[in-house]
């Protein structure tokens, strides 16, 4: 049971407005779709620009019933919720004029179309700067390796990024006959997208504060984002000249560490950081009492384990190792649910190794509205995890499904940019939109 006092309920909306209203984002290519989604979830008007055949990520599954369809990719649905969509063939001269007008109407452009692609068409950051476009104020170029440098033109993928950036050499198994592992799935795009949003919002804030005059470029490299997301391997090398070695289900480290991932009686796993030794004596007593109910505490009541709680981590290696072995035998008597709820009720950071979808039915996330209902094409209904910011007083609305191909052409080109409605069919027939 929790001994924490009840927390105040989050209050009703302060003003009903979204967190990031009156910001228009134009997004092209696929490398920035996570960044666009994170901004769309807080209320930015994100307009996804695609070629008339649909952007590449519409052609990546999974699909309902495994039937490919340009409107039904579940990947596209997840990464493009809350956005609007227009079509535009940037290789088409007429289209490039529209592109410029669209960009000029925006505060931010997210260019995820690949290194040099838009600049090669005279439709990129260089044209925006040289030709004095009236907008946008912030141009975010998301590329695999950045806009310049010896690798700028290199071919890339999520796997290649997680290899080059370092996460793979920290992730995998203690048995190094097994390969380093790419954590599933697409995390390089998340790391790049999250940092791109930091860069975009930082640039907007700096411009608003008068730190610089616009326009501002954010030259965002996914390789750098992944390289910045490796935690301990960098300090191990920079300060100790030691190389972290991957170990099954736990932190990589220069030397051996106790196991922390334990099988349960229902053939699943628990993650118990440190291997089980609590970080305070109060929690140690609670754990030993619990183990005693199963006659499982073995020798852990010996004073040396109590003393080890106070010792520096590198000074109680034997005790931590022993604690891990005994905890493993104890956890093997429990179901994951018993271990998870039992450990957490004693304030121990015991984590259940779940499939992602098991969270859909967890009452805690229901309390927090962590999943929003999402209507997919063909009337399919699902729930989607929403961007994890909770602003007190701001209702999180029902997300709009990802746009159909060209769904907002009329609204954006005619109603907002003033292209005469009768010109749209011609633009479409000539392949410009």
């Amino acid at each position: 049971m929790s001994d924490a006092p009840p927390l105040p309920e989050f209050a009703d909306s302060l003003d009903g407005a979204p967190i990031l209203d009156r910001v228009r984002v134009v997004e092209v290519g696929d490398l920035g779709e996570v960044a666009g989604r994170l901004l769309a979830d807080v209320g930015a008007d994100v307009i996804r620009v695609e070629p008339p055949s649909g952007t590449d990520s519409r052609h990546i599954g999974p699909y309902p019933g495994d039937e490919p369809g340009v409107e039904t990719s579940l990947r596209f649905a997840a990464h493009n919720a809350n956005k609007r969509g227009v079509t535009l063939d940037l290789e088409h001269t007429e289209a490039r004029e529209l592109w410029r007008r669209l960009c000029e109407s925006a505060d931010v452009v997210i260019d995820g179309s690949g290194h040099g692609v838009l600049d090669g068409l005279g439709a990129g950051w260089e044209a925006r700067l040289a030709d004095g476009w009236a907008g946008p104020r912030v141009w975010c170029s998301i590329t695999p390796f950045g806009r310049e440098g010896p690798w700028a033109d290199w071919a890339s993928s999520d796997l290649v990024q997680l290899a080059l950036g370092g996460p793979m050499m920290s992730t995998g198994y203690t048995d190094h006959d097994l390969p380093p592992i790419r954590g599933g799935f697409d995390h390089s795009y998340w790391m790049g997208g999250e940092y791109a949003v930091v860069g975009i919002l930082g640039a907007l804030f700096g411009l608003d504060a008068g730190a610089a005059e616009g326009p501002e470029l954010v030259d965002m490299a996914i390789h750098d984002a992944v390289s910045a997301t490796t935690e301990g391997s960098f300090p191990s090398w920079e300060y100790r000249r030691e190389i972290n070695q991957r170990a099954t289900g736990r932190h990589s480290a220069p030397g051996p560490t106790p196991e922390i991932q334990f099988p349960t009686v229902d053939r699943r796993h628990m993650n118990i950081i440190g291997g089980g030794q609590p970080r305070s004596v109060r929690y140690l007593e609670g754990l030993l009492d619990w183990m005693d109910q199963y006659d499982a505490a073995e020798d852990l009541r010996e004073p040396r384990f109590r003393e080890a709680v106070f010792a520096a981590r590198n000074e109680a290696g034997k005790e931590r190792q022993r604690f891990s072995e005994v905890t493993k035998r104890f956890v093997a008597m429990l179901t994951t649910e018993e271990a998870y709820r039992g450990g957490q009720s004693l304030h121990l950071p015991w984590g259940i190794v779940r499939r992602p979808e098991e969270n859909l039915d967890d009452p805690h996330w229901t309390d927090r509205d962590s999943f929003a209902p999402l209507e997919l094409p063909d009337g399919l209904q699902a729930r989607l995890p929403v961007a994890p910011y909770r602003f007190e007083g701001v209702e999180r609305g029902v997300p709009c499904r990802a746009p159909l191909l060209g769904e907002h052409n009329h609204a954006v080109y005619h109603e907002e940019l003033g292209v005469p409605a009768e010109e749209l069919p011609g633009l479409s027939e000539r392949g410009a939109i």
Partner: protein
């Protein structure tokens, strides 16, 4: 040449910082919170860490470059707290509390990543913070968030990775989960914390009142699993580990292949027939390109075990880095699985100035990981290492109007 001279001529370092003039009173510790405030400090915010010497940040217990552990010399602490200032404070001492409240009154934001409720029990509930400062941004990071049935549950990065589903889906299908080899979600939570802070600071000009932002570390992991959750709900397909293979998009070969030397691996992601032909040619294996079993993507996907064995046979004597350059010259997506020494020699990171050198009175000149983006006019920097324990007590208290005599008195009373 000292490391700190290595990039001292970078005009970039002289550019205006977007968050210059923003002050954050930072009660965070360990990794997730300090990762968020590290980003804010790199962007120019004045981040003042408020530490409790009696309950020290466990990262200060990290290993130093040499000699015995010392709170001022931990490598990992230094890396995540560079650019910040630091004071210690006994917040239960009445005068110290007044001073901390004065600090909050004049700041833009307060951050913490204690267990839910702990900061309020310390006397800094949101109601008190907004009394002190009606425009304050209060950002909390915790495992499960500050409300909801299980908000008292505690996490570290790996706990949150397990619960969110990230651990389960990382690894080989016939092995236990590999998980992630570090506290990935401490960093994601930090990134979302920085994003939320930037959103709140921007929104502050428009709304009346203070803002409270609540981030759950587990939720930062769940948001990344949207595609696999939709696949379950629509197709009834459970999430499973598939090692280094790729189903969406379908690619084969797609994996990490052993190369010459100790624990050296090259990753290759073959999406097109052109990639496949170029790979075979580079590996000196035209017979693979001709092999019926591997003639199409569909065929290669159906014979992945044989395919991976055939590739490994031909990479295992090759130098991984040379093979990477050769494959990239042919347009094949390929990358060495880089360890830290590799990354320090990475010519692309070097060209972008990703690792920045800065001085520290405790651990000498060191390199630091930078931010992954470059601006055109604005800048970010790494100008100093992390603060020693209580390093800026005199400086910060003087700014708050304390006299040297008063500061000495507070020290004598163990109030700071």
């Amino acid at each position: 040449m000292a490391k700190s001279d290595a990039n001292s001529d970078r005009a970039y370092d002289e550019r205006p910082r977007p968050l210059a003039g923003v002050r954050v009173v930072d009660f965070t510790w360990i990794v997730a919170g300090p990762q968020a405030t590290r980003i804010l400090a790199d962007l120019g915010a004045d981040v003042i860490r408020v530490e409790n010497e009696g309950h020290m940040d466990s990262l200060r217990g990290g290993l130093p470059p040499d000699g015995p552990p010392h709170p001022d010399r931990s490598g990992i602490f230094n890396n995540f707290n560079r650019n910040k200032r630091g004071i210690t404070a006994n917040i239960y001492h009445p005068r110290t509390r007044e001073l901390i409240e004065q600090l909050i009154s004049g700041a833009d934001a307060v951050t913490e990543n204690f267990s839910p409720g702990a900061f309020a029990r310390m006397g800094f509930g949101f109601e008190r913070l907004r009394e002190l400062n009606p425009k304050i941004v209060y950002l909390s990071l915790s495992g499960y968030g500050h409300y909801g049935r299980d908000s008292s549950y505690v996490t570290w990065g790996p706990t949150a990775q397990a619960v969110s589903g990230l651990t389960y889906i990382s690894g080989l299908p016939d092995q236990d989960p590999a998980g992630w080899g570090y506290s990935y979600l401490d960093h994601s939570a930090g990134y979302y914390g920085a994003i939320a802070m930037l959103l709140a600071l921007r929104r502050r000009d428009r709304i009346e009142g203070a803002q409270r932002v609540d981030i759950s570390q587990v939720e930062t992991g769940m948001v990344m699993t949207g595609v696999t959750m939709l696949d379950w709900q629509i197709n009834g397909r459970q999430s499973e580990r598939i090692g280094n293979r790729s189903r969406h998009p379908a690619m084969a070969p797609h994996g990490a292949y052993r190369c010459a030397g100790d624990d050296r691996w090259i990753t290759v992601a073959v999406e097109t027939g052109e990639h496949w032909r170029e790979l075979c040619e580079e590996l000196g294996a035209p017979e693979l390109a001709e092999d019926e079993r591997f003639a199409s993507l569909e065929a290669r996907l159906a014979a992945e075990d044989e395919l991976d064995a055939a590739i490994t046979e031909r990479t295992s004597e090759r130098d991984a880095r040379e093979l990477m350059y050769a494959l990239q010259a042919r347009g094949v997506p390929a990358g060495l699985a880089q360890n830290m020494p590799d990354k320090m020699e990475d010519e692309q990171l070097a060209a972008r100035g990703f690792y920045r050198a800065a001085p520290s009175p405790y651990v000498d000149d060191r390199f630091y990981e930078g931010l992954p983006f470059l601006f055109r006019q604005l800048g970010w920097d790494v100008h100093r290492g992390a603060p020693g324990i209580g390093e800026h007590i005199d400086e910060v208290l003087t700014e708050l109007g304390c006299t040297p005599e008063e500061i000495a008195q507070l020290r004598a009373e163990a109030a700071v």
